[in-house]
C-alpha cells in the first residue's frame, strides 16, 4: 500500500507522461504543417489494409509529400524506386531495422531499392579518420547487416559511395543545377565548412537520390525517399534539381524515429550504446538494456492500475509497435497498457523475448548471406553521364 504522498507523486508523474505524449504529437503535427507536408489519412483510407506496411497501419510513418504517384504504381503493380542512404560510421541498431523493414515492405510492393552507403559523408563529417576505415566498416559490418534484413538480390542495389566513382561523375553533372545559396538555406552554413562537405551535401547526395532514374536503370521513374522529419529540405532540393534535368521529382515519406531506450524525446543513436539495441548485441545484453528502458507507467502500481499507462511514450512498447508483425498482438498489449492491465516487467519480458528472437534471426540470415554480398553491390557503369 502506497503512502498518500507516493500516490500524489505518481499522479503527478502520470500528468508529466501525458504532457510528453502531447508534446511529441504536437511536434510532429507542427513540423508536418510547417513543411507543407500532408498527413496520411487519405492514403490509409483508400489503400487496402493488406497492402499497407506496418509502418503505415501503426502511424510509424506520419506524413508525406507527393506519395500519390507511388501509390498508383503499387495499385498497378508497376515498379518504382526507393532510395535510402546509410552513414556507415557505426554498427546498425534496431532503429535501422525499423527503416529497413519499411524498405523491405516497399520492395514486396514493387520497389527496386537503392542503398547508398555514405562513407564519404562519414569522412567529411569527421566520424572516421580515413576513407579506408569507413570502407572497412561498410564492407565488414554494414553491408552484411543490410543483406541480413532479407532483401531480394535482384531488386536491391547497394553501393559504397567511394567505391562507385561513377556517382561522382553524375554529381559533377548535377553541380550545374545547384547554387551555393540554395545549399546554405537547406543545410545551414555550419554544415558547409569544408570543400568535402559542400561537394557531398551539395551534389553527391542529389546524385544518390537521382541516379536510379538514369537511362542505365530504365530512365525517369517514380521515386520514394523515406526520411526523418528534419530531412524535408533535402527532398525539396532534390525535387528542384530533378525538375531541371527532366527527371521525376522524388516523393517523400516521413518516418518517426525509433525512440531511445532512455526516453521518447531522443532517438536511438549508434554513438550512445545505452540508447540503442545493436544488431550484434547478445541476448543477455538485449535483456539488460530492455530491463532499464523508459516506460509510460508510473512508479506506484496501484496508481498505474487505476489511471493506466501511456504506451505512446514507452521505449519498450515502441520496440513492439515498430517491429512486431502482428497487429492484433500489439493492439491488445496497447489496450492493456492504457488500462493499467499489464505490468512493466511482463511487458519488458514479452519485448525482450521478441527482440532477442528478432536479432538472432537477423544474425542467422546475415551469416547465411555472408558469401553473397557482392551480388548486391552496384557496379553499373554510367555511360549516359558522359554523353549528356
Amino acid at each position: 500500500m502506497n503512502s498518500p504522498q507516493a500516490i500524489a507523486e505518481s499522479k503527478k508523474e502520470y500528468q508529466v507522461k501525458q504532457t510528453i505524449k502531447t508534446r511529441l504529437e504536437s511536434y510532429y503535427l507542427d513540423q508536418t504543417t510547417k513543411n507543407g507536408l500532408s498527413n496520411l489519412k487519405k492514403i490509409k483510407a483508400y489503400m487496402p489494409l493488406e497492402l499497407q506496411p506496418l509502418h503505415l497501419r501503426r502511424n510509424v510513418t506520419i506524413a508525406h509529400l507527393d506519395l500519390e504517384p507511388i501509390i498508383e504504381k503499387i495499385a498497378k503493380k508497376q515498379e518504382f524506386i526507393v532510395v535510402s542512404g546509410l552513414n556507415p560510421s557505426s554498427p546498425l541498431h534496431l532503429g535501422h531495422q525499423a527503416l529497413f523493414d519499411l524498405l523491405l515492405s516497399l520492395q514486396h510492393l514493387g520497389a527496386r531499392v537503392f542503398v547508398p552507403l555514405t562513407n564519404d559523408e562519414s569522412l567529411v563529417d569527421g566520424k572516421v579518420d580515413s576513407l579506408a576505415k569507413s570502407r572497412q566498416i561498410a564492407r565488414e559490418s554494414i553491408l552484411p547487416d543490410i543483406v541480413g534484413f532479407g532483401f531480394d538480390v535482384v531488386k536491391t542495389h547497394i553501393f559504397i559511395d567511394s567505391e562507385y566513382p561513377e556517382l561522382y561523375n553524375f554529381a559533377m553533372h548535377l553541380s550545374q543545377f545547384v547554387s551555393f545559396n540554395q545549399l546554405r538555406q537547406v543545410f545551414g552554413a555550419d554544415s558547409l565548412l569544408t570543400p568535402g562537405q559542400i561537394f557531398y551535401r551539395g551534389v553527391v547526395q542529389m546524385a544518390q537520390i537521382l541516379l536510379p532514374q538514369l537511362p542505365e536503370f530504365g530512365g525517369p521513374k517514380a521515386t520514394l525517399i523515406p526520411v526523418g522529419i528534419d530531412q524535408h529540405p533535402y527532398i525539396l532540393l532534390a525535387r528542384d534539381v530533378a525538375k531541371k534535368i527532366g527527371m521525376i521529382p522524388p516523393s517523400e515519406l516521413v518516418i518517426r524515429f525509433l525512440p531511445s531506450l532512455l526516453g521518447p524525446e531522443d532517438k536511438m543513436s549508434a554513438s550512445k550504446p545505452n540508447t540503442a539495441i545493436y544488431l550484434d548485441d547478445t541476448s543477455q545484453i538485449i535483456r539488460k538494456k530492455i530491463s532499464h528502458a523508459y516506460t509510460g507507467a508510473v512508479s506506484a502500481l496501484d496508481v498505474y492500475q487505476d489511471l493506466g499507462g501511456v504506451p505512446e511514450i514507452c521505449s519498450a512498447f515502441a520496440l513492439l509497435n515498430f517491429l512486431h508483425p502482428d497487429d492484433k498482438f500489439v493492439n491488445d498489449i496497447k489496450l492493456r497498457y492504457q488500462h493499467g492491465q499489464i505490468t512493466m516487467s511482463e511487458l519488458k519480458e514479452i519485448t525482450a523475448s521478441f527482440i532477442c528472437e528478432l536479432v538472432e534471426r537477423h544474425q542467422l540470415v546475415r551469416q547465411e548471406n555472408i558469401n553473397n554480398l557482392d551480388n548486391y553491390i552496384l557496379t553499373t557503369p554510367l555511360a549516359s553521364i558522359l554523353h549528356i
Binding site: K42, A45, M47, E68
Partner: protein
C-alpha cells in the same frame, strides 16, 4: 444513405467530413425534411435539370437526374399547387462549346435523337417531367433579355467572374474569357426562370454566381439540390488519390467522354462489359469515399420505384457498405436488367 443529396443535407444535417469517420446518413425523415423545406418556402415549384452532351451517347448517369427529378416532382406536386419539372437538353449551349460547322450539324442531330429517346423514357416510365430542347425553351421564354441583364451586372462583379471561372476547365478558360463567359451567363440566366434546380456538385459555382446577380436584379432565386458526384467505374484504389478533382466533383454525368473516360462509363445502347467493369472497380467499406456502384444501385432502385408508382426515395441501411462483393453482385444484376429495358425502348 450517405450523400445522395449533398447540398441540402449540408444545410439540414451536419456531415462530419473526416476521412474514415462515418457521416450521418440522410434517412427517409431527412428526405421529408428537405421536401417540407421546399414546400414551405416555395409557392411555385418549377423544377429543372439541364444537361449538355457529347457524341458518345446517353449515360446511365443522366438517368439519375431524370429519375430523381421525377421523384421530387411526385413529392412536391399537390392539387392546387403549380408544379412543373423540366429537363433542358442544352443543344444551344453544347453548340457554343465547339466551333466547327460539321460538329454543329452533328450536335443538332444528336440533340434530336436524344430528345426522341427521352420521350420514349418518359412514356415507358410514365415520368411526370418534360424534356425540351434549349433552343425551343429560348424561343418560348425571354431568355436572351435575361442573359443580357445578367451579363450587365455580372461582368463587373469580380466575385461572379471568379465563380464562373471555377466552372471552366483550365484548357478552356481563355476561350471563356474571350466570350465574356457567355456560356456561364446563359446557364445562370436560364436557371432564373425556375425555383428548384438539381444538378451535379460543380453546379454550386453557377448557383452562387446566380444568387449574387439575382439578388441585385431582384429576380427569382434558386434552391439547389446537388446529387452525388458521378464516378468512373473500373478504377483501382489509387485513382482518387491521383485525381482529387474527380474525387471532389466527379465527372460530368451527362458527358460520357468526360475526362476521356468513356470506356469506364455505362452508355445506353452499347456493350459496356459490365461484369468486367464491376470486377475492376475498387470499393472500400468506408462510406465517406466514392462509391460508383452504390450510385448505380440508387439509379436502378429509383427506376423501380417509379415503375411501381412509389414516390419514396430509395434508402439503405449503413451496412450496405460493409460487404463489397454482395453490393457488386446485387447492383450488377439490377443494372443488367435496367439496361435491357433501356436498350429496348
Amino acid at each position: 444513405m450517405f450523400g445522395w443529396i449533398v447540398q441540402l443535407v449540408r444545410m439540414l444535417v451536419p456531415k462530419t467530413g473526416d476521412i474514415g469517420s462515418s457521416p450521418i446518413p440522410p434517412t427517409m425523415t431527412d428526405y421529408n425534411l428537405i421536401i417540407n423545406e421546399l414546400k414551405k418556402s416555395l409557392v411555385h415549384r418549377r423544377c429543372f435539370y439541364g444537361e449538355t452532351y457529347d457524341t458518345f451517347g446517353i449515360t446511365v448517369d443522366s438517368l439519375k437526374y431524370y429519375l430523381f427529378l421525377s421523384l421530387l416532382h411526385q413529392n412536391l406536386a399537390r392539387p392546387g399547387v403549380s408544379c412543373e419539372s423540366v429537363v433542358i437538353i442544352a443543344d444551344v449551349a453544347t453548340g457554343i462549346n465547339q466551333s466547327s460547322q460539321k460538329f454543329a450539324t452533328a450536335i443538332s442531330q444528336i440533340s434530336q435523337d436524344r430528345l426522341n429517346y427521352c420521350q420514349k423514357l418518359k412514356k415507358y416510365y410514365h415520368l411526370p417531367i418534360n424534356f425540351v430542347l434549349m433552343s425551343d425553351f429560348f424561343t418560348a421564354n425571354p431568355i436572351l433579355q435575361r442573359v443580357e441583364s445578367f451579363k450587365k451586372v455580372g461582368r463587373h462583379n469580380p466575385q461572379v467572374i471568379e465563380l464562373l471561372s471555377k466552372t471552366v476547365l483550365q484548357n478552356k478558360i481563355k476561350q471563356e474569357i474571350e466570350s465574356g463567359f457567355h456560356y456561364g451567363f446563359e446557364e445562370i440566366a436560364t436557371g432564373s426562370f425556375f425555383d428548384i434546380k438539381i444538378g451535379p456538385p460543380r453546379e454550386q459555382y453557377y448557383d452562387q454566381a446566380a444568387a449574387i446577380i439575382s439578388r441585385e436584379l431582384r429576380v427569382n432565386q434558386l434552391s439547389s439540390i446537388y446529387l452525388s458526384p458521378t464516378y468512373p467505374l473500373g478504377q483501382d484504389f489509387s485513382y482518387f488519390l491521383t485525381h482529387p478533382e474527380i474525387e471532389e466533383f466527379g465527372l460530368t454525368p451527362y458527358k460520357a467522354g468526360s475526362n476521356q473516360l468513356q470506356d469506364f462509363r455505362i452508355i445506353i445502347g452499347r456493350d459496356n462489359h459490365l461484369a468486367q467493369l464491376f470486377q475492376d472497380t475498387y470499393l472500400t467499406t468506408n462510406p465517406t469515399l466514392p462509391n460508383p456502384i452504390l450510385d448505380l444501385l440508387f439509379i436502378t432502385d429509383m427506376a423501380q420505384k417509379i415503375k411501381n408508382n412509389d414516390p419514396a426515395f430509395p434508402v439503405y441501411n449503413a451496412d450496405i457498405y460493409s460487404d463489397v462483393d454482395s453490393l457488386k453482385r446485387l447492383t450488377l444484376e439490377k443494372t443488367t436488367a435496367l439496361l435491357v429495358e433501356l436498350n429496348n425502348l
